[in-house]
C-alpha cells in the first residue's frame, strides 16, 4: 500500500441547489484525489461549498440539492451508480462522517452504548448484543471515556466527550475514510487541542484517511498533509501543507493566510480581504474571485481559468500561472 494510492477519486463534481431565487451552484466542477492514509485539509470561508462537497462524497446531499455532474470513485466503486441499499452499506462502514455539533448529533433519548451497538449491528448483523457491547466498551476506553459511562445518555456527557463518542461511532467499523466536517468548531480551545491529539493518535493506529473540512487554518497546519482551498464552489489551490503556508500561489489563498492573526502580532493591523464572497446563484463571470482579487487582469473577468498542475503536488486555478491565450480568442466569449 503506497502513500500515493488513490482512495477517493472525485472527477468534475457539481452540486446544485434548486432554490426559489434560482439555481445555486454550491460545488462547481471540482476534481480532487484523496490518497490512502493522508489527511487532506479542505478549507474555505463559510458557504464556499466545502461541507456540500463532503456530503456529496457520501451521497448525502439533501433536497433541494442535487449532484448534477461528475464521477465519484471510492476505492474503484462508482458511488453515483450504487443503488440505495449498497450505498447505505458503505456509509458508516467504509466512509464515515464526524459532524460539527456534538451536542445535537447524538439522539437525546438513546444511550451512548446503543448508538455504538446499533452502528455495529446495522452493518454486521451477525454480531451478538453482548459482543457489540464489549466492542463498544473497548472503543470508548480507547477514546478516553470510562466504559461505565456507556449507559449514560448524551446529555450526561460534556461536549468534548460527545465528540469523542462521535469519533468512536465513525471508527466503530474501521472506516477507510473519515470525513470530519468542522468537527472541532464547537469545542473550546483546550478540548479542541485534546481532540486533535486523539485524532492524530487514532490516525496512526487505524491507518485512517481523513478529509478535514474546516475554516480554521491552525488545525490544517497541525494535522493535514495536503490542503485544498475552495472559493465560491470551486477548488482554487491544492498543495502540500508546508508549501501552501510558505508559498501560497492563488491570490485568494494568500489573502486567507494573511487574514489569520499570528502570535507575534507583527503585522500591526490584521489584513482584511476586500469585498465579500459572491452570490452563487449569479456568480461573477470568469474567475469567481476576480472582483476581489488584488492582481486581477483583463482576462480574469472573461474566461474561466483551469484548475491545473503547476508543479508536482501543486495545482492552482488562476490565470497568473497559466498561459493567457491570444486576446482575439477570448474577447467577448469563452475559450471553452
Amino acid at each position: 500500500m503506497s502513500i500515493n494510492e488513490i482512495l477517493y477519486n472525485i472527477q468534475d463534481l457539481s452540486v446544485e441547489f434548486h432554490t426559489r431565487v434560482g439555481i445555486l451552484g454550491a460545488v462547481d466542477h471540482a476534481s480532487l484525489d484523496i490518497r490512502r492514509g493522508e489527511v487532506l485539509g479542505l478549507v474555505g470561508e463559510s458557504g464556499c461549498g466545502k461541507s456540500t462537497l463532503g456530503k456529496a462524497l457520501m451521497r448525502m446531499i439533501e433536497e433541494p440539492g442535487k449532484i448534477t455532474s461528475g464521477k465519484l470513485l471510492f476505492d474503484n466503486i462508482d458511488i453515483l451508480a450504487l443503488d440505495d441499499s449498497r450505498m447505505r452499506e458503505l456509509r458508516g462502514s467504509r466512509i464515515s462522517m464526524v459532524f460539527q455539533d456534538p451536542m445535537t448529533s447524538l439522539n437525546p433519548v438513546q444511550r451512548v452504548v446503543d448508538h455504538i451497538t446499533e452502528a455495529i449491528q446495522v452493518h454486521q448483523s451477525y454480531v451478538t448484543d453482548k459482543e457489540a457491547r464489549a466492542r463498544a466498551a473497548n472503543l470508548v476506553d480507547r477514546l478516553g471515556i470510562s466504559h461505565d459511562r456507556l449507559d449514560d445518555y448524551p446529555h450526561h456527557l460534556s461536549g468534548g466527550m460527545r465528540q469523542r463518542v462521535m469519533i468512536g461511532l465513525a471508527l466503530a467499523l474501521r472506516a477507510d475514510l473519515v470525513i470530519a466536517d468542522e468537527a472541532t468548531t464547537s469545542l473550546d480551545v483546550i478540548v479542541e487541542a485534546q481532540f486533535l491529539d486523539l485524532l492524530r493518535e487514532l490516525r496512526n493506529e487505524f491507518d485512517l484517511t481523513i478529509l478535514l473540512i474546516t475554516h480554521n487554518m491552525g488545525i490544517v497546519a497541525e494535522l493535514a498533509d495536503r490542503v485544498a482551498v475552495m472559493y465560491a464552489g470551486r477548488l482554487v489551490e491544492l498543495a502540500e501543507v508546508n508549501q501552501l503556508f510558505s508559498n501560497p500561489k492563488h491570490p485568494y489563498t494568500e489573502g486567507l493566510l494573511r487574514a489569520v492573526p499570528n502570535i507575534q502580532l507583527d503585522e500591526g493591523e490584521l489584513y482584511k480581504m476586500a469585498g465579500s464572497p459572491p452570490d452563487l446563484v449569479r456568480p461573477p463571470s470568469g474567475c469567481r474571485f476576480h472582483p476581489r482579487c488584488p492582481k486581477v487582469m483583463e482576462i480574469c473577468s472573461q474566461v474561466d481559468p483551469i484548475f491545473k498542475s503547476i508543479a508536482p503536488n501543486r495545482m492552482v486555478n488562476c490565470w497568473l500561472y497559466q498561459e493567457v491565450p491570444d486576446e482575439k480568442l477570448w474577447v467577448g466569449g469563452s475559450t471553452q
Partner: protein, 338 residues
C-alpha cells in the same frame, strides 16, 4: 425510583388538590345558578307547594347554600357523593355502573386514534411534499372537522343498517349478558370467563362507536405527529444516523418517533378531556350506556347530586391522567430533571 422523582410525584400530587377543589366549587355554584328547579323537574307540574317543600327538605335543599356546600365537600372527602335525586341510590353506585362502559369505549377509541394518527402522521412526515402527504393532511383536516354525531350516524346508516354487518347501538345484543361482571369491561370479562361468544358480541358493538370517536380525534393527532416529526427529522442526529448507514425506516420510526413521542404524549394527556367530551356525543349517538349518557340524562332531570358527582369524577380523572402523563415524561425523556 430516584429521590428526585419521588419528591416530584408527591409535590405534583399535592398540587392537584387545590385544582380539584376549585373545580368542585365551580360545579356546585354553576348548578345552583343555572335556571331550573330540581324539585319542579322531578315532581312535575301540578305538585303543591307543600309537596315541593317536603321534597326540598328531604334532600336538604332548604338549608342555606354554604351549609349545603360544606356538607357536599365533607362528603367528597369521604368519597361520598351523595344520593341521586331521582333514584334512591348513591351517586358512586351510579358511577360504578356506568363508568366501565365509558372506559371500554375510551380505550378502543384511543387505540384507533393513536394507531391511525401516529402512523399516518409519521408516514406523511417521511413522505413530505409527496402526494401521500397532501392526501393525509387533507383527510385529517376533514376528520377533525366532522361532527361526531354525523360521522356516527353515517356509519350506522351504511355499515350498520345498510349492510347489516355491525350492530348500531348498545353494548351487547339482546339476550346476551356477561356470566359475571368482574371489571365491567365486557371484553375483558369475556376473556376472564373464557366466553368467546360474549367477546365477539362485545367487540362487534364496540367497532362503530370507537371508530367514530377514534377517527375524529385521529385527525388532530395526525397533524400533531406530522408537525413534530418534521421537526425531529430535521435534527442533526438524524443526518448523523443516516451517515452511519441506518435505514430511512429506522431513522423515522425508531429514532424520530421516539423523540416525537414527548410532545405527543403531553397532548395525549391534555386531549383526554376532549376524549371524555367526545365520548358523551358518541354515547348519545350509539345509545352507549356510559358516563356521557348518564350526565346528559341527569342534566335533563336536574339531578344535581348525580351531575355534580359525575363532573367531579371527571375532574379527578383528568387531573389523575395529567399527573400520570407528567410522570411518564421522566421515562420518555431522560433529560427531564425533577
Amino acid at each position: 425510583m430516584s429521590p428526585g422523582l419521588r419528591r416530584y410525584i408527591i409535590v405534583r400530587t399535592l398540587l392537584t388538590i387545590p385544582m380539584v377543589l376549585i373545580l368542585v366549587s365551580l360545579v356546585f355554584i354553576v348548578l345552583r345558578v343555572m335556571p331550573g328547579d330540581p324539585a319542579l323537574a322531578i315532581m312535575r307540574e301540578g305538585a303543591s307547594e307543600e309537596q315541593l317543600a317536603a321534597f326540598r327538605a328531604a334532600l336538604g335543599m332548604d338549608r342555606p347554600l354554604h351549609i349545603q356546600y360544606f356538607d357536599f365537600i365533607s362528603g367528597v372527602l369521604r368519597f361520598d357523593f351523595g344520593e341521586s335525586m331521582v333514584r334512591p341510590i348513591p351517586v358512586t353506585q351510579e358511577i360504578k355502573t356506568f363508568f366501565p362502559a365509558t372506559v371500554e369505549l375510551a380505550i378502543f377509541s384511543m387505540m384507533v386514534t393513536t394507531g391511525v394518527g401516529i402512523f399516518s402522521g409519521a408516514y406523511a412526515a417521511k413522505n413530505r411534499k409527496r402526494g401521500s402527504d397532501y392526501a393525509i393532511r387533507v383527510l385529517s383536516i376533514i376528520l377533525y372537522s366532522l361532527p361526531i354525531f354525523w360521522l356516527g350516524l353515517m356509519l350506522q346508516m351504511t355499515i350498520g343498517a345498510g349492510l347489516g354487518w355491525l350492530p348500531v347501538s348498545g353494548r351487547l345484543s339482546p339476550g346476551m349478558t356477561p356470566d359475571r361482571v368482574i371489571t365491567g369491561l365486557y371484553t375483558i370479562d369475556a376473556i376472564l370467563t373464557l366466553n368467546l361468544d360474549l367477546l365477539v358480541d362485545a367487540l362487534k358493538h364496540l367497532i362503530l362507536p370507537s371508530i367514530t370517536l377514534g377517527l375524529v380525534l385521529a385527525g388532530f393527532f395526525t397533524r400533531l405527529t406530522r408537525a413534530t416529526m418534521l421537526d425531529v427529522l430535521e435534527q442533526d442526529f438524524i443526518t448523523a444516523g443516516r451517515a452511519r448507514g441506518l435505514h430511512e425506516r429506522v431513522l423515522v420510526y425508531k429514532h424520530g418517533l421516539r423523540n416525537a413521542f414527548i410532545p405527543i404524549v403531553t397532548l395525549l394527556g391534555l386531549q383526554f378531556a376532549l376524549l371524555l367530551a367526545g365520548a358523551i356525543l358518541t354515547e348519545t349517538t350509539f345509545s352507549w350506556p356510559g358516563m356521557g349518557r348518564l350526565v346528559v340524562d341527569r342534566i335533563y332531570d336536574r339531578d344535581f347530586t348525580t351531575v355534580q358527582g359525575t363532573i367531579l369524577f371527571f375532574a379527578l380523572l383528568v387531573a389523575g391522567v395529567s399527573l400520570i402523563v407528567d410522570i411518564l415524561y421522566g421515562f420518555l425523556d431522560p433529560r427531564i430533571r425533577y
